[in-house]
């Protein structure tokens, strides 16, 4: 059995004719061969029977057998051989009869033997051809383009696949130099491929070839070298696979990859690719894939958040992120914990979102730069939905330093404005404050003078002197307190947020305005609920809100002919809030004024700036609270300052 590469070496051209025309053409050829063989057999018989040529004419039947053998049909060969034998015998008997024996008999026997042997050989050959043809059929079944070429590069076999893809029929291709026909272009010089083929017997590579209609094909090419018996290169079998479509898909993929790579590299948004698989596994192992279980676990084990953060691997970062984080690509921390402040609470929130099956999580936090500086950032974490997606969690990070700075500048401007308003408020309260300071000063002076007189009496009354001095001290302190309160109220720098007792806050505010009430003959009722929780905030700003509301109420009540009562109440509100209520019995606010009351520069006072309530509401909102108003014209106005209550009162609260 010859090796497959050798299979096409005895092709019958018919087997690889054009697919559509092949069958009829083959039938036509077979018909012609059979006719030719029949005519030849007839002619030989006539010569053999009618002439008396002394010779082995019958041997010529062998030619007919050889001729019909080309149809490669067993029946044809047997028929012609049988006809040759029968006609030879007939012609011999007809001429010589049965009893003749001599040279003629020997010649007839030789002829019969020659016919039989040639028929046998033809049948043998026919079997071999049949087997080869079936193997060539297999090659034709392949979609790959397969052809063989001889040492000159001329095509000797051309598969159906080659004909279909290249567009050249077998007839057009056979005998042509393959590289010319297909305008083959090599990535490397052709000689290299030949050298490899020569040395190793095979070569593989990618080629560009051109079809009959001018299409350019990317093909993967495999060559195999067939050597002859002497070991000399004989034929080359080339197998080509059209990878143009695959190439195009690959090119698109590469393009897409490049596009995303460009986005990744060039965008100003920092991108971090994180691997959450270890974390995911840890969550599964501890049965924490359910958000409520996770939340409970986090509450019981505060250290778990840090552990979880350690498990998040930093896989890749883009240049924008390295710029934000201040780490070079090479020195980028391997774990998330090194990038986040230990106090960060957004990670826990994102973890809960992840456990809850969210697809993304947004938040604001601070990154720790390589130099230790903190960078405020806005981030979005995208959680892939696939199970193995935990391996590529993408985090998009935007540096909001500038925005934060603008925010800070705005807050500073607001603080500046609030300060200006405090100065203005105190300006309105000047008379009251002067009175408030004057009272203790007067008491100090008078007590001092009285003390002197007690001393200078004929029998000094030291008890009275002591009492006077004690009062001097108390009143001096009181004056100092008032000065401190005023100075605090005017402080320019924002005071840090701190725990504040609502009762003390209200009392301080009342003290600043107290004399106004006296002057305008306003009855003040203060009621503070017991055991109020504390709040958290800027003491001066909140005091400013209360002072402002009280001064407004006082001005509303000034000259009012109805009852002049101001009720101040501090108590619990709904949902962990504290409510400061400032209610007056004054003329109220008209329905027309009410909606615009908090608008900046909106005022109903002749010399008002219209900023007081606007700032009050801003302050309330900045503390996570609200400032509301209700009013009934002729009955009075109620302002409510609602603030979140943050903590229970400290056990040793003053």
């Amino acid at each position: 059995m010859p090796p497959p590469v050798a299979a096409p070496h005895t092709p019958s051209p018919q087997t690889c004719a054009g697919p559509a025309a092949a069958a009829p053409r083959k039938r036509l050829q077979h018909g012609a061969l059979r006719l030719g063989a029949a005519l030849l057999v007839g002619a030989i018989f006539l010569v053999d029977a009618l002439t008396t040529l002394e010779g082995a004419v019958a041997v010529l039947y062998v030619v007919a057998v050889m001729l019909v053998a080309r149809t490669a049909r067993r029946g044809d060969i047997l028929a012609v051989a049988a006809a040759g034998i029968v006609l030879t015998v007939y012609a011999y008997l007809d001429t010589h009869g049965l009893r003749h024996l001599g040279a003629q008999t020997f010649r007839a026997a030789v002829s019969l033997a020659a016919i039989a042997i040639s028929a046998a050989l033809a049948l043998e050959n026919q079997r071999a051809v049949q087997s080869l043809a079936s193997q060539a059929m297999l090659l034709d079944l392949s979609h790959d383009m397969i052809f063989t070429r001889d040492r000159d590069g001329r095509i000797a076999f051309w598969s159906r696949g080659a004909a279909e893809v290249y567009g050249f029929s077998a007839q057009e291709a056979l005998g042509r130099v393959a590289d010319e026909l297909l305008r083959t272009r090599y990535a490397q010089p052709r000689a290299l491929a030949d050298a490899v083929l020569e040395a190793e017997g095979r070569w593989e590579g990618t080629l560009l070839q051109t079809t009959r209609d001018g299409r350019e094909l990317h093909v993967e090419s495999r060559w195999a070298l067939q050597r002859d018996a002497a070991g000399r290169p004989w034929r080359v079998l080339e197998t080509h696979t059209d990878v143009t479509a695959r190439q195009a898909a690959h090119a698109r993929l590469v393009q897409s990859e490049q596009r995303y790579r460009r986005m990744f590299d060039a965008t100003r948004i920092g991108v971090v690719q994180q691997d959450w698989r270890a974390l995911h596994a840890a969550l599964l192992a501890q049965g924490l894939e359910d958000p409520s279980a996770l939340a409970a676990h986090l509450a019981r084990h505060p250290g778990f958040a840090a552990q979880a953060r350690d498990l998040v691997r930093i896989e890749r970062t883009n240049p924008a992120f390295t710029a934000i984080a201040g780490h070079t690509q090479a020195a980028m921390p391997a774990s998330l914990s090194e990038l986040l402040d230990p106090a960060d609470d957004t990670f826990v929130a994102s973890l809960l979102a992840y456990a809850g099956g969210e697809t993304f999580f947004e938040g604001e936090t601070e990154l720790v730069r390589a130099d230790g500086r903190r960078v405020p950032v806005l981030f979005t974490i995208t959680f892939p939905t696939a199970e193995d997606g935990a391996g590529s969690v993408l985090v998009f990070v935007v540096d909001i330093t500038e925005r934060r700075q603008a925010q800070d500048a705005m807050l500073a401007a607001q603080a500046e404005l609030a300060h200006a308003m405090r100065v203005a408020t105190l300006g309105e309260l000047t008379a009251s404050i002067a009175h408030e300071v004057n009272q203790p000063l007067m008491a100090v002076v008078t007590n001092g003078e009285a003390g002197m007189r007690w001393l200078r009496r004929d029998t000094p009354d030291l008890h009275e002197v002591e009492t006077a001095i004690a009062r001097i001290i108390a009143e001096g302190r009181r004056a100092g307190d008032i000065v401190r309160r005023v100075r605090d109220f005017l402080s320019k720098a924002p005071t840090p947020h701190q725990p504040l007792a609502p009762a003390a806050l209200l009392a301080d505010a009342v003290e600043l305005v107290r004399h106004e009430f006296t002057r305008e003959a306003v009855d003040v009722h203060v009621h503070v609920e017991d055991d109020l929780p504390w709040l958290h905030g800027d003491r001066v700003q909140l005091e400013q809100v209360l002072v402002n509301l009280m001064v407004n109420a006082c001005q509303a009540l000034a000259g009012w002919r109805g009852p002049r009562i101001l009720s101040l109440h501090a108590g619990r509100g709904a949902e962990a809030t504290l409510v400061f209520r400032v209610a007056d019995t004054g003329p109220g606010i008209t329905a027309a004024d009410l909606p615009r009351l908090f608008d900046p520069f909106y005022t109903t006072k002749p010399h008002g700036m219209g900023m007081g309530l606007a700032i009050c509401r801003t302050t309330a909102q900045a503390h996570g609270g609200e400032l509301t108003v209700e009013s009934m014209p002729g009955r009075g106005t109620v302002f409510e300052l609602i603030l979140p209550s943050h903590l229970d009162a400290p056990p040793h609260a003053p």
């Binding site: 000063l441 002076v445 009285a450 003959a521």
Partner: protein, 217 residues
Amino acid sequence: MRHSPLPPTSSVPLVVIVDDEAAVREALDSLFRSIGLQARTFASAAELLAQALPDVPGCIVLDVRLPGISGLDFQAQLVAQGVALPIVFMTGHGDIPMSVRAMKAGAVDFLAKPFRDQDMLDAVSAAIERDRQRRAQAASLAQVREQYQTLTPREREVMAHVVAGLMNKQVAGLIGLSEITVKIHRGNVMRKMGVRSLADLVRQAEALGIQGPHTSV
């Protein structure tokens, strides 16, 4: 409210202090007691009005701004209740219009806080002196009234004509009596009223409000 440790006696003048500031009340209380006055302190006008005061010479030291009622309204109320104590007003700064009104309404003095103790003591002394005088005047008027009550109707008639400047003869003619009878009545009047001269009788008649011959008391 702080009461004076001294028992109120008729001889020691009383200073009534009304101020809503406890510190001011206490300081003034100590000051007045240090010079031997007795003092009573009240936080509001209402407290004072609810209290009966001892009948001694004295004055009121009053903050012009009181909770619930203005000092001036309070002054008016006191007058209406017949409390005639002179008032020394105290004020913060800048209450000029109010001080003018207070003075017009009869305030003795007006002191701006903080004041010098001597100024306050002077003002209080002056007020007490004024009250003492007023009391003395009131006391003498009461005596004259008592004496007048002892006159018979005819003697009162004669007195009215005499203080109006009529001669005995004219009086006799007017009321149809003899000149001698008129003379006796007139002598009784002078004796009962305790006066020596016509001029003194005229002054008493003025104090009693007797102005003309047809005036009845």
